[in-house]
Amino acid sequence: MSVDQAAVRRIARLARIAVDEQEIAHLQDEINAILSFVEELSAVDVEGVEPMTSVIPMRLPMREDVVTDGEIAAKVLANAPLTEGGFFLVPKVVE
């Protein structure tokens, strides 16, 4: 399989990465190089094989459904580029 330029634009949009128009052809080549590298996998017989979910067989641990952390708004916001009144600040989302 390989991707065309429209697919590259779509992938960039899905990945939320802005891409300049002049980068598209180069990115297409790189992505196709990787896709051709993984192409051989389509020939492997995986009939009846379960996909890996956990490399080490273990049961997920359970814990009480209670609050164990919180009341640390200042710490949560400490690294934010822009805050106001205890909130993260973003461009207007709803008109």
Binding site: I11, V38, E40, M58, P81
Partner: protein, 506 residues
Amino acid sequence: MTDPTALTLAEARAALGDKSLSSVELTRAYLAAIDKAKGLNAYVAVTAERALQMAEVSDARRAKGEAGPLEGLPLGIKDLYATEGVHTQACSHILDKFAPAYESTVTSHLWRDGAVMLGKLNMDEFAMGSSNETSYYGPVASPWLPPNWTPERAKAALAGDKKGLLTPGGSSGGSASAVAARLCLAATASDTGGSIRQPAAFTGTVGVKPTYGRCSRWGMVAFASSLDQAGPIARDVRDAAILLRSMAGYDAKDSTCYDAPVPDYETAIGRSVKGLTIGIPREYRIDGMAGEIEALWRQGADWLKAAGAKVVDVSLPHTRHALPAYYIVAPAEASSNLARYDGVRYGLREDGDDIIGLYEKTRAKGFGPEVRRRLMIGTYVLSAGYYDAYYVRAQKIRTLIKRDFETVFAGGVDAILTPATPTAAFGIGEKGSADPVEMYLNDVFTVTVNMAGLPGLVAPAGQSPDGLPLGLQLIGRPFDEETLFALGAAIEQAAPKLKTPAPWWA
């Protein structure tokens, strides 16, 4: 004593123990060495004041008779471990100025045991790379001189773009370079596809990727969560064993962390390997393998045979599919993990016309080319219509890879011996600029271990015809790191001792 940085971690522990050296003296010696080695670019942040303060407190603790297992020993920390209030960026621009409000579990174990933090070590951006060239903070130089280079020529290159100097490998390039150049006693590192073991092989150091779940991943910047694992890079096998014991251990904050006591790995050093069965997988004899690598591998098997182990041929038939499958699984998990970098909650922010524009511009500017490439591949293989063809198929192949190992271990094999890397260290600027896959091939011998969640240890075993370090890899049963330490020590014992690189950079 002339130079305390010449001591191994075990030797420094003994010197601190008999009071012939203090932690403050040792820490000062390391800070001075780091200061003279700025050109190597191994550290991205040096925490000198904090180090001296930790050393003073440690000396006081020792005076009270309360010394921990790592008491007073100065270590370097890879930049992807969260260290409270200190530079933690996984060497990415997108985490600009990020200083976490919490400490990773692994580093908190080190401080609990008395260790001293010297600073944060350079790495490939988000651990994506095999040469430390994708770091936002620039490449790291290996302390090993390129073949036929004079120290003067190397020093001039260090002051310039570093082209032609050797890479220490990656992604834990800063860790490997710092340990090999004696800029710390030992370092934390992390391994998703070979990021501890390949740099160890390139720099003549020892690297251990423990079994998945042995160390807590809490507070480590995530790359591919089902593959990532913490581990040490150290000067010898004993030092690696000492450090891993402190790093490992159960943590309720990581649901994949293994709940079982941590053995005293150091007791495995010097343990007889007589009667152990060592598998030599024929599929690792790849096309065009360098003669020196093949010879080293054979030599390693002979050493273990001479030490009383039995060497048998084994087959791991799905080996060749591991690297392509990895380049689906790892980018897929990365695209999900790295979705959190959005310019809102921490790090870099580039303004846009709307919220989507803010995300897209921030991520375009904040991620380097290799990270962007992998995120796009990961997004593609997880997207509607391709998920089954790529991602689910790769996870099925992963099951087959793991089954290969299980079959071999069930057949009575205690550990598997392989080369660590296809070649010795290469130069900065030499690989991967035209075709990203060229760089990926570095991990051909190491990536299977992550795909199967197994422990792997790389120890220096010889030198290339050009005099560069070469390593061998031992792969063990799940949670049987002890056998790897015993076998690694046997190889270390038999192998000719590498000469430490002279400090041409100082």
